[in-house]
Point group: C2
Chain length 396, copies 2
Amino acid sequence: MRNVQVAGVGMTRFEKSSRTLKELVAEAVTQALGDASATAAEVQAAYVGNAVAGLVTGQEMIRGQVLLRPVGIEAIPIFNVENACASAATAFHLGWQAVAYGAQDVVLCVGAEKLTHEDKSVGLAAIGTAVDVEARAAAAEADEPGAGAATRSFFMDVYAEMTKEYMSRSGATTEQFAKVSVKNQHNGALNPRAQYGGEVSVDDVLGSREIVWPLTLLMCSPVSDGAAAVVLSSRELDARRGPRVRASVVVSGNRHDSGDPAAGSAGRAAALAYEASGLGPDDLDCVELHDATAPAELIAYEQLGLAPPGQGPELIESGETALDGRLPVNTSGGLLAKGHPIGATGIAQVCEATWQLRGEAGPRQVDGARVALMQNGGGWLQGDSAAMSVHILSRD
Amino acid sequence: MRNVQVAGVGMTRFEKSSRTLKELVAEAVTQALGDASATAAEVQAAYVGNAVAGLVTGQEMIRGQVLLRPVGIEAIPIFNVENACASAATAFHLGWQAVAYGAQDVVLCVGAEKLTHEDKSVGLAAIGTAVDVEARAAAAEADEPGAGAATRSFFMDVYAEMTKEYMSRSGATTEQFAKVSVKNQHNGALNPRAQYGGEVSVDDVLGSREIVWPLTLLMCSPVSDGAAAVVLSSRELDARRGPRVRASVVVSGNRHDSGDPAAGSAGRAAALAYEASGLGPDDLDCVELHDATAPAELIAYEQLGLAPPGQGPELIESGETALDGRLPVNTSGGLLAKGHPIGATGIAQVCEATWQLRGEAGPRQVDGARVALMQNGGGWLQGDSAAMSVHILSRD
């Protein structure tokens, strides 16, 4: 297998945007190509992640071709990839696989999403398709709980159930969840590409509008638009060596006992990534993980082996995952503060990791960061994420 | 690069079906695994093509995970791939790429589509998203021709324009187009998995309802449901050696002079496939090509190098592409008679080629077939298909 480097990265600010998907993608791709000192003509294939354009903008089927033509990318193979909120991580993985195994030398991976719509329910309904919609319709017909509500993302019901189960298993409190939001909003304020960010208190988080108990507004990732792009290369495209991809793993969910953090998709993906890279949790200098809600960050601490089973709450309490802690998590602000344009998130995580490993993260720089892990999950199927990815990058 | 073999194939009958996508996929996958003497547990990754489930059934984002869980495929990487009517060919290509370059040893590639809906306009509208929908909306607002009609697939307008241009360039007549339909309906009658098929005359074709001039109903592929699956392997899974993938190419469209059949995506894809395989048009024993309309078959003759530029009409007149001719084309009945569940078509072509190369095509068997070519296109963007694939299989 060949070494694959992140030759260049680019991303828009995440926000509720009046710009079209084409405009967002053009900005991210132009930035990534410039960062890699590469031209559009050097790109041999493009892997494009998007989750819901078909449902929100009506652009189904050939999204990548439509989005990349304006920046002069045509004729080459363009692969449209979908894996719900892990669509971009999946596009990254397929691009990495192609370069690592020698099918292509230089590829472009893109994640892009436009979730805002003049009718807010359109975006929320679209997010709700990342489940077995047939099973969900049957549950709704039977008036079972968790069939969703029109005023919030269906996923917040899923996350609320997961959170209650986690609370009873670990003893986690809503105050501890709020501390995740406080940390990530703090980090987001230091990231010019973040949608939100600022100094909020535990009381602010707990006192914000209830979405579905125990989740409050400030514990939930927002509705966002944005795009992120990365150029992967088997060689150096310019004098500056980008970080190296040490592991890239995508798995699907499986039926398992949710009480064992290693048994589900995130635990399996992390184990495969640690094995492939020869690295472990102790080697990590920073982490971007899938905090679609604040409690999800604590659950992920355990799934990724950053904390022993049941000790996610202790890790946030310790302050070790704060920006000035031993292992800063979600330095970008995470999904909670940076925003979560679902099909873009996985590659936005790669952008943040790359900037950290290059020492270019400005006021949120982790001193001497050499190894970064990214975790990005998507969809929900019978008690597990439908798709899950873990990547590990290192500076050398 | 490693040799990749088609270890097993399976497909449902194509038809307007009352069965769900899950049921269709279960049948095709079970058949393909059985044909390969493989178990679900041996599959290391799945590449799943679908074009419009998000718009027709509401199942977006994690289609493959939802469709494969009922047949016991979970936990492994599942990649949801979309490239309009070339979605299945693209899924096949990515699976081939993974095995050929050593990322996986055994993969499952699936194409599936359910286009029928109680409201017929839903399926037709969904097909119409395989273009730049922003540009199309602008054209509709300006009341330009070709913005589509609610009573037919938008693509029939695209094909009608393409056909008129081809007629003026080659002198092709509507009678010659009708001969394609006569041939493919004849072949379809010999294929138990074909939606239609039967003995029709040139007059029947010309006298059928006009869709948009010069296309009549019998010159257009129908609305279909169905699924097709293939197991690709780097080694023999059982004693019987499946055909070998000699070339698998996917490209995107490009702006070009449409008068030169070699300049567009189909011509480029064919040239790359011939180069990769070391084979040429004279080596082919049978061909499955993208006859979404009857005239498209004549145009493809030229793009694939089966006829010299401008001589597609002569080739159908010669009878050489009939089942008993020198180079039978669309022995399965093609899209016209077998049906065209858009995200399934590319892999259904691989099924037919595999049966032909194994000598298992029954009454439509091409004697001694050793080399087969498949061509599958998808979407439309500024005068060319958005995505295009050409695969070549050989018996040894």
